[in-house]
Amino acid sequence: MMKRVLRFSLLASTALAAAPALAAAGDGDVTFYRDVLPILQDNCQTCHRAVGANSGGMVAPMSLLTYDETRPWAKSIARMAVSRAMPPWFATEATRGKFHDERVLTDQQIETLTRWASTGAAAGNAADAPAAARFAQDENAGWSFRQPDLVVPLPEPYAVADDVEDLNIDFTSVLTAEQLPADAWIQGLEFRVGGRSVHHMCASAFAPGEKESFQVGELGRNGLGCIALGSGPTFLPEGFAQLLQKGSRIKFSMHYHKEPGPGSGFTDRSELGFYFARGPVSHRAVYDAIGNVSFEIPPGNDRWRVGSAKKFEQDSYLLALWPHAHLRAVAARYELHTPDGATELLLDVPRYDQEWQVVYRYREPKLIPAGSRIEVTLWYENSVERANERRFDSRQATTFGPATTDEMMIGFLNWAPAAELDPAAAAAPAAIPSSGSE
C-alpha cells in the first residue's frame, strides 16, 4: 500500500508542474479498488462494517466494505479525514508509535481520499483490490481477540424504563465452580454492552468473604476494568495479568444515559468476557485510577484545570492509560515526574471527547522508576457555547458525580510492579497482595 501511496504522491507533485497534461491521468489514477480500499481496510473497516469492532457500545453508522457502500460517502469521508475527525484518535504526535491501534491517517492517505472524492470517486478495476480484510470478530462471534474463556453476563436481563434519562445501578454475579473452578490469571477483558445507552460499564471482583467497602486504594485492589463509549477491549502484554479468584463476586456498575420518552426503554444484558493468560505470568497487573473528586467547576468558566497525581513506591510498568470525564472535559494529559527531576509527557489529548473514550494501550510496557509520580490533568469548559453543543447547564457550578451532566476527573491506568512474581505464586496465586495504591 505504501508503494501505491508514494506513487500517487509523486504523481500529485508532478501535477503541480504539469497540470494540464496530467489532469486527466490524475483523475483516473485514484480509484477505489487500488488506492482507497487499502486505506479503508487499515483504518476504517474495523468499525465500519455490519458487525464492527466493540467500542463500548459505539456503532459505526455505515459500512465501508464495498465500493457500493462507500461511494455515497466519498465526500463525507474526505471531509472527515481532512478535519481528522476520523478515524477517532486524540493523542498528539508526541506519543506517536507508543500505543496499540493508533488510528492516524498520513497526509498522503488523506490526499488520496480527497482526490478520490473530488475526481468522481471512481471504482477502478476490481482486480486491483487487495484481499478482503479479515477481522477477529467475524470468526469469534463478535469477540475481538478470540472466544473468551469465561463470559459473565448481568445476572439477568434488566429493563431500563422509558422515563430513565440517567441511571446508575449495580449488579452482582457470584462465580460458580462450574464457571471458574480454580483461580485464574486474566490477560484480557472485553465488555459487550447492550447499546449506546450504556454510558459506562465497570466491573470489580471481590474474593469470597472479602468485604465490599471501598477505601483509598481499593480500586486498584478490586477493579477489573471499565469501558465507555469509544473504549475498546483490554488485552495486556504477555506475562501481565490480573488475578481472578474462584468464587469471586463480580460486581457490575452500570450507568445508563438516554433521551427519556416513550419507546426509549430497552432491555440490557451486557456481559463481560475474560481472556485467560495462556502463558506464564510474571507480573500481577492492577486496574487503578488517579482522580480528584473535590473540584468545583465554576459556572461559565471556559478553562478550568483540575489535577491529581499518584506516586509509585516501586519500579513499575505502565500498561494502559484512559482519561475519563464527561461533557465539559476538553483536554487531558498524563505526565511522568521521575525522582531525578525529569518530566516526560505520557499522553496528551488536546481535544477530549467523552463520546470517544479511547483507551491508550502501550505497545511495550513502560518502565517507570520507584519514586515516580504521574500527574493527570483535565481541563473543562463550562461555557454557554459548549453547553449548547453538549446539552448541559453551564449556569451552575459542577462537581464530581455519577450523572452524565455531573463531571468526573479520573485518570485510569493499568500498571504492574516491575518485580517479577515468585514462580510458585504465579502458578498458584493464593492471595491478592496490596496494590500499593494511595
Binding site: 439477568e156 473528586v293 489535577g307
Partner: protein, 234 residues
C-alpha cells in the same frame, strides 16, 4: 448564594464510588443520609443482586448533585466559617508529618513556594470578599457573581526575613505541584510560630474573630501559620 458543600472525598474514593457504584461506608455528619440500597424491579433472584445508587429508576431519571453530598471527606481536612449569610471554607490534603512533603518543608529554599506532591493544592472558597490586611480577596475571581475560588500556598521567608507568606492563586483545583505563578492573585503575610504541641498531619481551621472577621490557621508538625481577615462586602 448557594451554601457550599464539599464536592467529595479524596483520590480514588470518588473514582471507586463513581465507577464501581459503591455507597460510602460512612457519611459526612452534616449531610443527609445516603439513599438506601434498593432492589430494582427486575432484581434477580439467587446469586444476582442489584443496587441503585439512589432511589428508584424514576427518581434517577434526572439526578444532579445528590451524589457528591454524601461522599466522605476522607482525604481532605475541611474547615468552614459563617460570616453573616456567607460561608468561607478551606480544605487541605491529608499529609502526615511522616510524608515526603513535610520533609520538603524543612528544606524549603528562602522565598520558595512549598509544593505538595502528595496532595491536591490547599483550597479556599469564599462567598464574600475578604480583606487580609491591605489585600482584598474578591469573589467572582473565576466566574462573575460566583464565590471566590482559590488555591493557597506557603512561601518561605526570603533571606533576612522571618516572614512567611500566603499566596492565593486563581486555580483552585490543581494538584499541589501545579501552581502557575501567572495565576497568583494576592500574597499576604502570615504569622508564624513554632509550637510544642505537634500536629501529626496538615490541618486547617477557620475561627471567628469579632463580628465579621476570621482567622485562618494552618498547622503541621511544630509549624503554625495564621492570617486574619475580615469580610469586605462590596
Amino acid at each position: 448564594m448557594r451554601r457550599y458543600r464539599p464536592a467529595g472525598a479524596g483520590i480514588l474514593i470518588g473514582a471507586a464510588l463513581a465507577t464501581m457504584g459503591a455507597a460510602p461506608s460512612a457519611q459526612e455528619p452534616s449531610s443527609p443520609p445516603p439513599p438506601q440500597a434498593q432492589a430494582s424491579p427486575h432484581a434477580p433472584a439467587g446469586q444476582g443482586i442489584a443496587r441503585q445508587s439512589g432511589g428508584d429508576a424514576t427518581a434517577n431519571a434526572r439526578r444532579s448533585g445528590q451524589f457528591s453530598r454524601f461522599l466522605v471527606m476522607r482525604t481532605r481536612n475541611l474547615a468552614t466559617l459563617e460570616l453573616g449569610e456567607a460561608e468561607v471554607a478551606a480544605h487541605v490534603g491529608k499529609l502526615a508529618t511522616s510524608s515526603d512533603d513535610y520533609q520538603a518543608l524543612a528544606a524549603l529554599e528562602p522565598g520558595a513556594v512549598l509544593e505538595l506532591p502528595g496532595a491536591a493544592a490547599c483550597k479556599l472558597r469564599t462567598e464574600v470578599d475578604l480583606r487580609f490586611g491591605d489585600a482584598v480577596l474578591p469573589t467572582g475571581n473565576v466566574s462573575p457573581d460566583f464565590a471566590g475560588l482559590y488555591s493557597f500556598w506557603l512561601r518561605a521567608p526570603v533571606e533576612g526575613s522571618a516572614e512567611w507568606r500566603l499566596v492565593l492563586n486563581d486555580e483552585a483545583d490543581v494538584w499541589g505541584t501545579q501552581r502557575d505563578p501567572a495565576r497568583d492573585r494576592v500574597e499576604v503575610p502570615l504569622e508564624h510560630e513554632v509550637v510544642a504541641d505537634e500536629a501529626k498531619e496538615l490541618t486547617v481551621a477557620l475561627t471567628a474573630q469579632g463580628v465579621d472577621g476570621g482567622l485562618l490557621e494552618l498547622r503541621w508538625g511544630t509549624y503554625r501559620w495564621r492570617a486574619s481577615f475580615i469580610a469586605a462586602p462590596r
